[in-house]
Symmetry: C2
Subunit: 173 residues, 2 copies
């Protein structure tokens, strides 16, 4: 996208640079989602970024670990907390390929993450606007900024492919 | 309470027996809360019960482990999942000394826990009716039953004592 940025319009260049960084980090979250897919887990991936560097990355491991708390976001928050030696993930941003459920949105608020970038939306359990909006509709002691639709198509596609494959496998059983 | 049950009123006896069991398990959750207090953690404790037996117990370890996901409920769900070798905690009941936050209420729904017994309420972050009601106000694919005010006074008292002591410690610094 940087190629098409006209010279001499600094504001426009900044916006495009931000877009580029957002997409770069969501691509990393997508790499994690692919790792989940390879394990036949629902392909959701996540990275946590601080000072423009990835400090934690994780993917959904719910079935592998037979534990519903092993969502990508929870695992990434645990890794980032370990790295920063603090439960407060101040000035950290999270990139997630799928809208978080209530458990994960709650963990994001509790951990004081500054901003969340979301790829695909989740109409069944999404807690960032789809079923409810934990980030914006309630007065908790921390407010998380959200930005949706980052690499939306790619994030939706990997989920669609996964569930399509799962249906084929189940129909053969 | 069992002592005061009149004989010859079977229905009444059953109700009192249920009360007795609820209080017995909440006492166990309170024991966990006391362990948290001894570590100067916000005293919240939790047990998970299946077939009238405790299969997991945990207390808040957020500060000790510098990790906001280390709430009593999350830790207990992880232990129960390990024990049952399944993320589905079917026919399990949870006793918590304090109303769960959104993260924990979300985890309870995700883990398919049948019923939650709550001691004290949490006006600031409670997601079982105080700030919002994740258990009753949304159409998720699993419905959790709730019962509040089990040993409410005892559960409130330990929290009040903790925060009182914390204020004294902070005022001396």
């Amino acid at each position: 996208m940087g190629v098409r940025v006209p010279l001499g319009t600094p504001k426009f260049i900044n916006i495009k640079k931000d877009d580029f960084m957002q997409e770069k980090f969501m691509q990393e979250a997508l790499k994690e989602a692919k790792k989940a897919y390879e394990k036949m887990e629902v392909p959701v991936g996540c990275v946590i970024v601080k000072d423009n560097k990835i400090i934690a990355r994780a993917h959904n491991l719910k079935e592998t670990k037979f534990d519903t708390t092993k969502h990508a976001e929870i695992l990434a928050i645990q890794k980032a907390s370990k790295k920063l030696k603090s439960w407060r993930l101040l000035n950290c941003e999270m990139y997630i390929t799928l809208e978080p459920c209530s458990m994960c949105a709650g963990a994001i608020i509790n951990s004081r993450i500054k901003k969340v970038y979301i790829g695909a939306l989740d109409e069944k359990t999404g807690a960032a606007g789809s079923v409810l909006n934990l980030f914006e509709d309630y007065c908790f002691n921390h407010k998380v900024e959200i930005e949706k639709n980052v690499l939306k198509n790619e994030c939706e596609e990997i989920l669609k492919n996964f569930f399509k494959e799962l249906r084929v496998i189940k129909s053969k059983k």
